[in-house]
Point group: C2
Chain length 306, copies 2
DNA sequence: AACATGACATTAGAGTTGCTAATAGTGGTA
DNA sequence: TACCACTATTAGCAACTCTAATGTCATGTT
């Protein structure tokens, strides 16, 4: 039972003729005749009264015709809805990012991206790190942006940048005026740390242990913003990615000092579902994210002079 | 695009599995896989996310699933309605009869017919003779009962009986007391006739002319009932089929006398559309009509004693 | 981390279906 | 009655759809 046959039947009834119905569907009269007969056989009902000219549907045939029209109309609507949905879905980039990179990175890339893809839609969600991974795995986000990304069977990673880690202290702290601080100077220092289950915490712990420095962890938080607030009330010092304290450094609300630990960085990366073909819009969005921070807006055909 | 594929797709979504969907539709997993792929190709949309287990419909796939369910439900309803309509139509006999045979003949045949086909429905319409033919030609009636039936390309005739024609007069008429009347005695008589375009009029005219009798036509009507009324007010005599004046004869409201014209009869017959296969119910109804008037009710297995 | 498992995709070949062209049959009409 | 227009039928060919076998992949386990 196929929809083309139902369409043919509707045309036959509407045009009062099998031949005209056949022509309307660009098939031979024979094919139309056979198709209608088969339809009647499948339904076990006489739909057309062929013993009169012009052809007329029987009472049942007329009822079935009305039903068919509704059916075909419904199908065409479903098809149209599908196409519209596809337009929308394929033009949307769903981004899941951790708080500390979300808005900052987005604001830098949004304008060039939107001018390249004017009808694209970007949806950004800021989440806890493991929620970012979850969102990508569950196909609730097309791309995830997070620190310490780890590839897995279902997740691919594209490295984005490595953020140097710096010592952050209250402006009144004894080390606040220093140009730089050696790791050993943190021995016994009150320390505001990340939660133990975060990769950044493990990276910092490992680096300090390697330097044989022990700090006194006085607080633990799961995000940068709260740690900064704790330092702001002089609860202790911390080690944070430099970009996350850029504004506070400029405003002198927090003191920011390099540490002599070049290997201690926070890698930031993009993740997406492995093996899943990216839509053109998503691929282009990722390319945009990979542009360095100082790239001229407008792409490679920039305004460099000879 | 066929409905079985849509059904398959719905089952696949519902069961979260192509193999289970295939099983539900008693086809191989391969066939189901190909069918779904073809569906996606025809719609140019990714309906299923196969990169996860268990299988999940995409956002578009879910919307299409809902639409499909409604569509299939609508089709099943149409199919069911069709079956119900067929039951009803095939169990119905539409009868068109002229006034003078309609109710009288029906009442005699209805009871045995209905006991043989308890769920059958009989619809009787009493019409003018040419409307009876028209109704049968236009397929508004399955059978027609009328006098002087004529076969044609689209009409078949089954003779039913020949009704003897009798002289009918007012009880006070000079011929009213006669046992029988010779045609010649009608010479110059005031006569209430049928309309000129009716076959019965032509038959009567022909018979009188053959006897070289000329009557004075004072009125013309298109039906028996009105002629009887005219005679009732002593407007003249008429020649009518005997069965149509049976009641008046018994009640002595009209005088009924045989005429010596054995060839002058009104043939009554059944007509139906030629070449049109009769439904069993219609065929059985015709058989019932052809039973003689004195047949025992209850059919051939009657209550005759040894 | 390799392996086992269950599920989907792919492929090739067999069987069926559906189409076209030609022809026969039928209702309406001059 | 013959003709016209339309539908049914037939036969043969092309296209499609199905199945069985095999390949590939995602997931859970040891």
């Amino acid at each position: 039972m196929n929809l083309e046959t139902l369409q043919l039947y509707c045309d036959v009834v509407r045009l009062r003729s099998i031949s005209r119905g056949a022509a309307a569907n660009t098939v031979s009269q024979s094919a139309a005749s056979q198709a209608i007969q088969q339809l009647e056989a499948e339904l076990d009902a006489a739909l057309l009264d062929r013993s009169r000219r012009p052809l007329m549907p029987t009472e049942q045939g007329r009822a079935f015709y009305e039903a068919c029209r509704a059916l075909l109309q419904g199908f065409e609507k479903a098809r149209a809805d599908l196409a519209a949905s596809r337009e929308r879905v394929e033009g949307t980039v769903r981004v899941a990012a951790i708080y500390s990179v979300g808005l900052h990175d987005m604001s830098r890339h949004m304008q060039p991206f939107m001018s390249a893809y004017p009808q694209a839609r970007v949806r950004l969600e800021c989440l806890h790190p493991h929620k970012v991974v979850e969102a990508v795995i569950e196909d609730e986000a097309d791309v995830g942006i997070l620190s310490y990304p780890t590839a897995s069977r279902s997740i691919s990673v594209l490295p984005l940048r490595s953020e140097p880690m710096v010592l952050v202290a209250h402006p009144s702290h004894r080390l606040a005026r220093r140009r730089s601080v050696a790791p050993s100077e943190l021995q016994g220092e009150k320390f505001v740390a990340f939660d133990r289950d975060l990769p950044i915490r493990r990276a910092i712990d490992r680096a300090l242990k390697q330097q044989e420095v022990a700090v006194e962890v006085v607080m633990e938080f799961d995000n940068v913003e709260t740690i900064k607030q704790a330092i702001g009330i002089n609860s202790g010092v911390s080690i944070l990615p430099r970009p996350t304290v850029l504004k506070e450094s400029e405003m002198r609300t927090l003191a920011v000092m390099p540490l002599g630990l070049p290997n201690l960085v926070r890698p930031v990366g993009i993740i997406h579902r492995r093996g899943r073909r990216l839509t053109p819009v998503v691929a282009r969005f990722i390319e945009q994210l990979q542009q360095p921070a100082d790239a001229a807006p407008g792409g490679p055909a920039g305004m460099s002079r000879p």
